[in-house]
């Protein structure tokens, strides 16, 4: 291939790429870039959200370094992300495989039911699980008492040691449906001939799953893991409806703390700092996850 043809191809590529990307990029520039810049600028100010702002340099960042609640909430975000990878992406992948390959007869029905909690308003999810965890008339304690495990019964959401696990269970059960949906769609897309070949090879489900299905949808695994990690770092609603971040900040995640700081405490400047650091951390973790998974693919291939 001559250099001129190659450069022509490159130019054609660039022009076409621009054509396809321009709408999305413009939307992001108009509605995402500006807020991002504003947050960046505000993070160096002291601002109550209404009065004129004051430049305070790195003061907010220094405060953030020593802010125990922030680091505690970041730790909770990491917990959310780790459990999401295992119990939403991992379990979602297994259940999706079952639905597509093992029990396709109930695929439609099961998929419909799994999506129900994702569709139901979070206000209701919060209300319901409050009742499930209620120490007096709650279902969970009722169940424990019924099977003779009275010792374990407690005020789940009010106890600092059990509040976060209780929140994590709700989150993973609620959002799992989304991942099942994504993986069913991905597995459906795998050519049936590949499975036939595996079957002729004498592969069981275990081997088929790991050596055929997962590698075939690896790009989806990558995308969903990234989705799980990023949404875990942004998670807000379920924590807010279940505990408001309490008791005593035990279940705060960065978003609930940011909301509390900006809207509850009237510290919009500091809230921007939290938000800006959150964005940087989330993006960094996202890049890390992507890199890790690209290497994983090369290793697997």
């Amino acid at each position: 291939m001559s250099t001129s043809t190659r450069s022509r191809a490159v130019r054609r590529d660039a022009r076409a790429a621009l054509l396809f990307l321009a709408p999305a990029v413009l939307f992001l520039a108009a509605f995402v870039a500006y807020p991002l810049l504003t947050a960046g600028v505000l993070s160096f100010h002291s601002w109550d959200g209404v009065s004129p702002r004051q430049w305070t340099g790195l003061a907010n960042y220094e405060r953030l370094l020593g802010d125990r609640i922030f680091w505690g909430s970041l730790r909770n975000n990491i917990l959310v992300a780790l459990t999401a990878i295992v119990f939403q992406v991992g379990v979602g992948m297994v259940i999706a495989y079952w639905l597509v390959r093992v029990v396709p007869r109930i695929k439609r029905f099961a998929m419909f039911l799994y999506v129900v909690p994702v569709v139901i308003s979070e206000i209701c999810i919060g209300l319901l699980w409050g009742f499930v965890y209620n120490p007096y008339f709650g279902l969970l304690n009722g169940f424990l008492n019924a099977v003779g495990l009275d010792e374990l019964a407690r005020g789940w959401l009010g106890d600092r040691s059990t509040a976060m696990p209780a929140v994590l269970v709700v989150m993973n059960l609620t959002y799992l449906g989304l991942y099942i949906l994504l993986f069913v769609a991905a597995f459906e897309n795998v050519d049936k001939a590949v499975y036939d070949a595996a079957a002729i090879d004498g592969a069981g489900h275990y081997r088929t799953f790991f050596s055929v299905s997962v590698p075939m949808v690896w790009s989806n695994v990558q995308a969903t893991t990234l989705l799980a990690v990023v949404s875990s770092f942004k998670t807000f609603s379920l924590v807010y409806v279940l505990t408001r971040g309490g008791p005593n900040n035990a279940t705060d995640v960065v978003s609930t703390y940011l909301f509390q700081t900006g809207f509850g405490n009237f510290e919009a400047g500091y809230a921007s700092t939290i938000g800006f650091v959150q964005i940087l951390l989330t993006a960094a973790v996202g890049v890390f996850v992507l890199g890790l998974m690209r290497r994983g693919k090369r290793g697997a291939a």
Binding site: R11, A14, R15, L18, L19, A22, P23, V25, L26, F27, A30, D48, G49, V50, S51, P52, G130, F131, Y133, N134, P135, Y136, F137, R154, G155, W156, L157, G158, D159, R160, A163, T243, R244, G246, P247, N248, N249, Q260, F263, G264, N265, F266, E267, A268
Partner: protein
């Protein structure tokens, strides 16, 4: 070359976007600019409950009838989301003409930034100022000027299940030791003595504040708010914190109280699984649909015999108020609405619908209030020397947050009373 064509494509797409938004903008603004007359944008948080909605509909309908020349644009949201909405509007310079606001520290944040109209001159006219209960004005007054008109007043007292008390032969206590004895008795009968659902953090504040009021005295937070350098919760704050922690540690509060909503705790109370609750007068409304076998009774917060405070004082304060934006286009119309909503008819209607007291003198009539509220007004409020406003509303927003999480820490035992007292004192000092 490449870059230039890229820019051209980007520009074309950008132009398309601008055109799209221009069309939409034209369509959107046509609706609001029409009409010609005066427009008044009123924001309020009376949503989410039948009684609140019924009240505001009455207030707005009668206002529109009285002022047919004013075109009212009503914007409503439920209390907790309303705050987010209002703050976003204020921060981006979109303040509504008239807005509902919490009194105290919340309103003060807007006042400090110069967004709220001073009402002093208007209040001086036709004895408007004097029509409000004196105790209701400090929470909307900052630096000697009044910025909002108070609507309703909530008072906290102890509510109990009278039917349950009668059946078990329990006696209503008057002093704190009697209260603790009673709580022990109730606990050993297998009933939770005090229904406290502290997920939203405000319910626990009533316990700390009453104990502080009884042992130290009223007016502490008002002192901090006024910038009094000598303002302090005093050494009694540690004991007040101890009162709350004792309740938790002796098992007089529900298990997991910090994770239970006020509404869940109310379900315990209404079903006889809990015997008492320290709550505002809204408890009357919350008990309206109680299952059979429940009867609501009340008694004043117990006295502390050794306490320095006035033992008849009541924890009570303004719950909501209305203010006018500094930027309001038509201040006349805005003030007319404030006058209307605080008029005797509208305020008496409020009492009738919501069963809480109002700040307007003489509007909380016994007929409108019903027997329970009328009794509270006469027996508890009427005998009070001072009404001490809610600390959490009076505090600067950030101080409130520390106050809340400290009290949660007292309940779960992670913060000892002395440290809690220090934390609250320091936060109050820092919050001005």
């Amino acid at each position: 070359m490449r870059i230039r064509s890229a820019w051209r494509a980007a520009l074309a797409a950008g132009a398309a976007l601008v055109m799209l938004s221009a069309c939409a903008g034209a369509g959107g603004s046509a609706g609001t600019s029409g009409g010609g007359g005066k427009t008044l944008e009123i924001w309020h948080a009376y949503a989410g409950q039948k009684d609140k909605v019924e009240f505001i509909e009455y207030a707005l309908d009668t206002f529109k009838k009285a002022h047919p020349d004013i075109k009212v644009k009503e914007v409503s949201a439920e209390q907790s989301s309303y705050k987010t909405k209002l703050q976003t509007a204020m921060a981006s310079g979109n303040a509504p003409d008239v807005f509902y606001t919490l009194p105290g520290g919340y309103l003060k944040a807007f006042v400090d930034s110069g967004q709220v109209l001073r009402l002093d001159d208007e209040l001086a006219k036709q004895g408007w100022r004097d029509s409000f209960l004196e105790s209701s004005l400090p929470s909307v007054t900052f630096g000697g000027s009044t910025y909002a008109v108070p609507i309703d007043i909530d008072a906290a007292l102890v509510w109990y299940n009278k039917a349950l008390f009668d059946a078990k032969g329990w006696q209503v206590p008057t002093t704190w030791p009697e209260f603790l004895d009673l709580a022990e008795k109730i606990k050993s009968a297998g009933v939770v003595p005090v229904a406290l659902g502290n997920k939203d953090s405000w319910p626990a504040t009533f316990w700390f504040q009453y104990a502080e009021m009884r042992m130290h005295g009223s007016g502490v937070m008002s002192g901090f708010g006024a910038g009094d350098k000598n303002a302090t919760f005093g050494p009694e704050a540690k004991d007040a914190a101890g009162v709350l922690q004792t309740l938790a540690q002796k098992g007089y509060l529900p298990k997991g109280a910090n994770g239970m909503s006020d509404a869940e705790a109310n379900i315990l109370f209404l079903n006889g699984k809990a015997a008492m609750v320290l709550n505002g007068t809204w408890q009357i409304g919350m008990s309206a649909e109680a299952p059979a076998g429940f009867e609501l009774g009340y008694f004043p917060f117990p006295t502390f015999v050794q306490g320095r405070g006035n033992q008849s004082d009541v924890l009570a304060g303004v719950a909501a108020s209305f203010a006018v934006s500094q930027k309001a286009k038509d201040k006349e119309a805005a003030l007319a609405f404030l006058r209307h909503i605080t008029s005797p008819e509208v305020m008496t209607k409020y009492v009738q619908i919501r069963k809480t007291m109002v700040a307007r003198k003489g509007a909380t009539t016994p007929e409108a209030a019903g027997p329970l509220l009328a009794g509270v007004v006469q027996d508890v409020i009427g005998k009070a020397d001072t009404l001490d406003p809610f600390y959490d509303t009076a505090m600067a927003p950030k101080t409130t947050e520390t106050y809340y999480s400290t009290l949660q820490g007292l309940i779960d035992g992670s913060i000892p009373p002395a440290a809690a007292a220090d934390a609250i004192e320091n936060a109050a000092k820092a919050g001005k």
